[in-house]
């Protein structure tokens, strides 16, 4: 018995006695190189502490709200340091503007207030994200010299400014009522699950929920853990493993790889970006569910899309609907004739591309999608009544075509070294040019068996990822419901298994480089 007791004591000594307080403090401080992400060990511990206190404050509305806001600001501080003051600026300005909007009577005053909100929110976004981009563009047009300014890009600024704008525009459109007080608004803008990487949660969806008692139903509990565990699998297993062991290398230095490897790299990237982004969104949705909040889904098997229009109904839904409701419709939508509709669509996608990053490749990516949407709209008009377009094989064919268009566009999205000179000649396409040249001039399909055999773990994960993506919705819904009905012990077990797998993947040896093309 003594021996057992001593063993237990030793266990705690080695577990906690070896903790270095300085390292612990360092973990809690802002570190630009390691933002706090949901799939990190640190977040697991922080969330455990958070959820214990949150549960204790469940029925104490004001302390609970204060606590969540404080935790969210800390969460943001871990990723962007002192720039959390930007959230405070956006919160305070839009709260005050919202109050004035409610009492303002004249149309002009209301418009001016919206313009003020836009100027503040988009002004911050433009300064922090786009100053150097526009500076370079101006320099390119006028020839005037431009030296890049050393501006820090605060994490998630594109998300929380868009969220806050939805509040002001919805009040202006009289779709929602303003919040009761500043703290409630701060809660909405800073709510940590979606703060740094979305989804973009609308004020109209979220605000009504904060005035209800916190209740986590059995469904929400099960679904919350389902979203977190599957999100972890997508983000920390599939995406992280295939990117470090294959995809990043191909995109970083495509000339070292044959055409077939470049193509597999492009397919791999399609899965990587989906798993990374949707996995993170899923975790955000899951965390919110465990706190009693429901977010709309952000991704709906986007590669099953039968057209580009369909793709944008399935990919980053919170952004595409935001752009539709607040940008496309504000530009006039489809109310001013066909030509204006197409133009509005194109402008929306161009700006949507720019939203993803301040670089030419994102703008071109947006333009490509904009053009594809216009072509699809024209096709829909032309093909009305054709029997062809209702056939099943046609849908399969169109899914394949859409998928390849999207993958091609991702190649543009992933190659940031495209320069303005690319628009005027063949030079300046950077690694994208090399990738396309390798695929078209040095394809070497005979290498496929060797490539698959050598990178079998990567190829297996890519295959699993795509198979899981393309299984019928009804089946995945059944799996989710089966999981939800499981006892709590199964949730614990599933969480443990997933974390153990992630630890194995995170510390696994990376795949050594192999040449197939000499």
């Amino acid at each position: 018995m003594d021996n057992l007791w001593q063993n237990i004591l030793s266990f705690f000594k080695l577990q906690f006695g070896t903790i270095d307080p300085a390292l612990l403090l360092h973990q809690l401080a802002y570190d630009e190189k390691s933002p706090l992400i949901f799939s990190s060990g640190l977040f697991l511990f922080l969330f455990a502490i958070f959820i214990v206190i949150y549960t204790l404050l469940q029925h104490k509305s004001l302390p609970r709200t204060l606590f969540v806001v404080a935790f969210s600001y800390f969460f943001y501080y871990k990723s962007s340091g002192m720039y959390f003051f930007l959230i405070a600026i956006v919160t305070c300005s839009d709260y005050i503007i919202g109050e004035f909007l409610t009492v303002a009577r004249s149309r002009t005053a209301r418009k001016l207030l919206v313009a003020l909100s836009l100027a503040i929110d988009l002004g911050l976004l433009a300064y922090f994200k786009y100053t150097n981009f526009f500076g370079q563009m101006w320099s390119g047009i006028t020839g005037a010299p431009w030296h890049n300014l050393d501006i820090f890009l605060p994490v998630g600024i594109s998300f929380f400014t868009f969220q806050s704008l939805s509040y002001i525009i919805d009040i202006y459109r009289r779709k929602i009522k303003p919040v009761d007080n500043l703290l409630d608004y701060a809660f909405y803008v800073s709510f940590f699950p979606q703060l740094v990487a979305g989804p973009i949660v609308r004020a109209s969806d979220f605000l009504p929920q904060i005035y209800k008692p916190v209740v986590v139903t059995r469904q929400m509990l099960g679904q919350g853990f389902w979203f977190i565990i599957t999100g972890l699998f997508k983000k920390a297993v599939i995406s992280d493993f295939i990117s470090i062991n294959f995809v990043d290398r191909v995109f970083d230095n495509p000339i070292q790889f044959s055409g077939i490897e470049n193509l597999l790299g492009a397919y791999g990237y399609g899965l990587q970006i989906y798993c990374d982004f949707s996995g993170y969104s899923d975790m955000a949705i899951g965390l919110a569910l465990l706190m009693g909040f429901r977010f709309n889904i952000n991704f709906n098997n986007p590669y099953k899309a039968v057209s580009v229009t369909d793709f944008w109904r399935r990919w980053h839904i919170s952004l595409s609907t935001w752009l539709r409701d607040y940008l496309y419709i504000s530009l006039g939508g489809n109310r001013k004739g066909k030509f204006r509709q197409y133009l509005n669509l194109f402008i929306t996608m161009l700006l949507g591309g720019l939203w993803h990053g301040a670089a030419l490749n994102f703008v071109l990516w947006g333009a490509m999608h904009g053009l594809a949407l216009i072509i699809h709209k024209l096709w829909m008009t032309l093909s009305q009544g054709w029997q062809l377009v209702t056939a099943k094989w046609w849908n399969v064919l169109m899914t394949i075509v859409t998928f390849h268009f999207v993958i091609f566009a991702w190649m543009l999205f992933r190659n940031p070294d495209i320069t303005w000179s690319a628009l005027t000649g063949s030079a300046g396409w950077g690694n994208l040019g090399i990738m396309l040249s390798q695929i078209t001039h040095s394809f070497k399909p005979e290498l496929l068996p060797d490539v698959v055999a050598s990178y079998w773990q990567v190829m297996m994960l890519i295959a699993i990822g795509y198979i899981l993506h393309f299984i019928p919705d009804s089946f995945s819904q059944q799996c989710k419901q089966a999981f939800v009905r499981m006892p709590v012990a199964v949730y614990i077990l599933a969480l443990i298994v997933m974390i153990v797998i992630i630890i194995q993947v995170k510390t696994s040896e990376i795949h050594p480089f192999i040449y197939f093309q000499f």
Partner: protein, 487 residues
């Protein structure tokens, strides 16, 4: 109202954390060749020294660990950076009593007599004044204003696409004069993607020393490439000055072929206008045709080539420094030992080199230590071939770069890399040539990880990008200039 389950959330999360913490005690598992990594949720906040202190001071703890975790701790205690002891080498102790290999003791002794410059890893010359030592090159550099000084950098994919050499060339040309990208094989995988030369071609059949079949040793040469041509085959070179301005143009261009009594001819079109004819015939083992002028673009085209064998074309200067990049993917330099003496000699007469830099290793270094006996033998034979047939040319062996692997304790230099560097040092000692420790110059362990983070190296934690090549070129340039200034 539905029943509330919020309280279950902390219960689930805390139970999972507790179980995961307890899993720290699971002994290491191995299934097949796969080893399960340690589950240590607190790894990021745990101090290694505290673990060791606690183990030393607590006998119960020690016994628990010994019983459950002996393999893991033994592994952890094994320092990764201890240079392996090579087969046949002798251990000795340095001034501080530290155990070092004999190679290191020679290297250290040589290093002491070399004046050092802050932050520069110096070149250690072990030639004892022989012509293959660095002084031949430094003397040539001193005369660079009156004649071309050529450097051949022979390596693998690490410098493919003129990575590293483009910047080294630029730096040397800025100080000693010169322009042009030097020699290029007629075609290569990276042709068309280089930052220093736009290379287009048509009508050639390539043979590479790394090809499994079809490479005939009779035609083997220092470049590791030769080509057969169809009638009208051509290659065009255009200097690109966008990234490295001095690469944009040159004073002369040559076209190289192996000797033979051909009846065909080759034409050179300079800057799209002037055309010059040369017969494809030479008494020498290596023939060449040369055009002069302010050349931005040159197009070489062969007519009636028959069975003649072609090598490459160059963009050179009449004086100053020329740096040729002989990179071959997947090579470890084996072909150099097999180049016929007459070809080696003739190529050096056609294109005299003052310095040959041998830069291999990535395709040899493995995860584990090995004695690299076979590798040492081949490189020694290669260097001896160069020394015998390129008299008066300095030879510099560059040690393997940092290449890292991920283990449960993070990123570490592959043990095989450290062993290889020792082997390369020994080759340099045995051949009485100079050695430069690239691994140390980069910053040793962790340097390639830092470079990946800065976009200077690829995510295979092995290869470098142009940006990384520029950094390494600067290190090598500094080392060369330190030697030159102290000559």
């Amino acid at each position: 109202m539905e029943k509330d389950y919020l309280k279950k959330v902390p219960l689930i999360v805390l139970t999972a954390i507790f179980v995961l913490l307890a899993m720290y005690w699971i002994p290491p598992l191995a299934v097949g060749g796969w080893h399960m990594r340690k589950i240590d949720l607190l790894a990021d906040v745990r101090s290694d020294s505290a673990v060791n202190q606690l183990i030393a001071s607590d006998s119960t703890l020690a016994s628990v660990i010994m019983a459950s975790d002996s393999t893991a701790l033994n592994d952890d205690k094994m320092p990764d950076s201890v240079p392996p002891v090579l087969e046949g080498s002798h251990l000795t102790r340095d001034k501080s009593g530290k155990l070092i290999t004999m190679e290191d003791s020679i290297i250290n002794a040589k290093a002491e007599v070399t004046e050092t410059r802050s932050g520069v890893t110096s070149i250690i010359d072990m030639s004892n004044g022989a012509p293959c030592g660095m002084s031949s090159f430094y003397n040539a550099l001193a005369m660079a204003s009156g004649r071309p000084v050529r450097i051949a950098v022979i390596g693998d994919s690490f410098i493919e696409g003129d990575i590293m050499t483009s910047k080294l060339r630029e730096l040397l040309q800025q100080r000693f004069g010169g322009k042009g990208v030097g020699y290029l094989p007629i075609t290569s995988i990276t042709a068309g993607f280089s930052r220093t030369c736009k290379q287009t071609f048509s009508g050639w059949t390539q043979h590479k020393a790394v090809d499994r079949t079809g490479y005939v040793d009779t035609y083997n040469n220092i470049t590791g490439n030769y080509f057969n041509a169809s009638n009208g085959a051509w290659v065009s070179l255009t200097g690109l000055g966008g990234h490295y301005p001095l690469a944009g143009s040159c004073n002369s261009s040559s076209f190289y072929f192996l000797g033979g009594a051909g009846s065909g001819y080759v034409t050179a079109v300079v800057n799209g206008t002037d055309s010059t004819y040369f017969p494809l015939s030479t008494a020498s083992t290596v023939g060449h045709a040369t055009v002069h002028g302010n050349i931005k673009t040159v197009k070489w085209m062969v007519r009636d080539p028959g069975n003649m064998v072609f090598l490459g074309a160059s963009m050179d200067c009449d004086n100053g420094v020329i740096v040729d990049n002989f990179a071959m993917r997947s090579s470890s330099g084996h072909h150099l030992s097999r180049v016929p003496a007459s070809t080696m000699n003739a190529f050096n007469q056609a294109r005299h080199y003052d310095l040959v830099i041998i830069m291999y290793g990535l395709n040899v270094a493995g995860h584990n230590n090995s004695a690299y006996t076979a590798y040492c033998k081949t490189v020694t034979a290669a260097i001896n071939n160069i020394k015998s047939n390129m008299p008066g040319t300095s030879v510099l062996v560059v040690g393997c770069s940092d290449r890292e692997e991920r283990t449960s304790t993070g990123w570490h230099t592959m043990k095989g890399v450290l062993g290889l560097i020792q082997a390369q040092k020994r080759v340099a000692i045995d051949c009485n040539v100079a050695f430069w420790d690239l691994y140390s110059a980069m910053g040793g362990e962790g340097s390639i990880v830092k470079m990946v983070r800065n976009g200077e190296a690829s995510k295979d934690y092995t290869h470098i990008t142009y940006k990384g090549g520029d950094r390494i070129a600067r290190y090598l340039y500094d080392a060369l200039m330190l030697g030159y200034d102290n000559r």
